[in-house]
């Protein structure tokens, strides 16, 4: 029998590992583009008014190591907790999926809803490519897209479950997914686009940064889904093996 408390704690601990994995990926693939973008920013920055000088609150060396690690791990813990709660709700309620398969499916849904859908409309931006004056609007739109993404993947599961008795598992899942894709497509078409990438900013650099950002998210969710699923299945095994033996013998 699964237990919500155990799952939540496991989710947050797996989140620490996911955060460390995300840090390793982000450090090797993301820090290069960030450094290049900061170099562009400094080369094109308006000269500071007389009497003022730029002072670094946190050095680049700290930002790219301890800072990035802290951000990744805290993010991993938070996502791991939310992920575990979702698994606790979904386990035993999505067809005949095992706990391990449920964890994998929830992680895939989490990646699509939390990372991929917002990314399609408002992709991650490297330093030097945002206008501070529009931060409020960009933050609002980003979180709106996040809510749409999460609602879409939840919608897929709810609708697929209700269609399943009539259409069968495959057709119900396809119909629900197509429906959600249409809704997300309409949202992407209707919401305002934001492009503040300055003239002269390397498109290759932008692409490398965004790919690294999506990769960091993919590593986070893949670690959550696969490691959590493995640990949950392993935790169920000893109990079931013990009760199974008398029957098997």
């Amino acid at each position: 029998m699964l237990n919500a408390r155990t799952l939540l704690i496991r989710g947050m601990l797996v989140g620490v590992v996911a955060g460390i994995a995300a840090f390793v990926f982000a450090y090797f693939f993301g820090e290069g583009p960030i450094s290049d973008a900061i170099a562009f920013e400094e080369a094109h920055a308006a000269p500071l008014p007389a009497g003022e000088h730029e002072h670094e609150l946190v050095s680049r060396g700290v930002q790219s190591t301890i800072g990035l690690l802290t951000a990744s791990v805290v993010y991993g813990i938070a996502l791991g907790g939310l992920f575990a709660i979702t698994v606790a709700i979904a386990a035993g309620r999505i067809g005949q999926l095992s706990a391990r398969a449920t964890a994998g499916l929830v992680a895939l849904a989490g990646f699509v809803g939390v990372a991929l859908v917002p990314f399609l409309k408002y992709p991650a931006n490297p330093p030097a490519t945002g206008n501070p004056d529009t931060l409020g609007q960009r933050t609002g739109l980003y979180f709106l897209m996040l809510v749409i993404g999460v609602a879409a993947v939840i919608g897929v599961v709810v609708v697929a479950r209700s269609l399943q008795p009539r259409l069968g598992t495959w057709n119900a899942a396809i119909a629900a997914t197509v429906g959600a894709a249409v809704v997300v497509g309409i949202a992407i078409a209707l919401l305002p686009s934001i492009n503040e990438v300055p003239e002269g900013f390397s498109p290759i650099l932008l692409w490398r940064f965004r790919l690294a950002s999506l990769g960091t998210q993919a590593v986070t969710w893949a670690t959550l889904g696969l490691l959590f699923g493995y640990l949950t299945e392993r935790s169920q095994r000893p109990a079931s093996a013990a009760t199974a033996q008398p029957v098997a013998a």
Partner: protein, 71 residues
């Protein structure tokens, strides 16, 4: 049906956890996650709990790479 309860085949669905058992842990987990995500993703952006920009600057690279809007 004794064999079914005593010998769960690998890959079978677990028994659903009752919602009443999940609820308190869900509330706790969601509140904790929102606070953590706020400090990584949004603190010292459009709103600030702590004055200054030290938190923002410390998690700067992560905030960019995790896709949050950042200055």
């Amino acid at each position: 049906m004794a064999t079914i309860s005593a010998l769960p085949a690998p890959g079978t669905a677990p028994a659903p956890i009752p919602f009443r058992q999940i609820l308190p842990w869900a509330v706790f987990g969601v509140v904790l996650a929102v606070v953590l995500l706020y400090f990584v993703g949004a603190e010292q952006g459009i709103t600030s709990v702590i004055a200054g920009e030290t938190v923002h600057e410390f998690v700067h690279d992560g905030r960019h790479l995790l896709g949050f809007p950042c200055h």
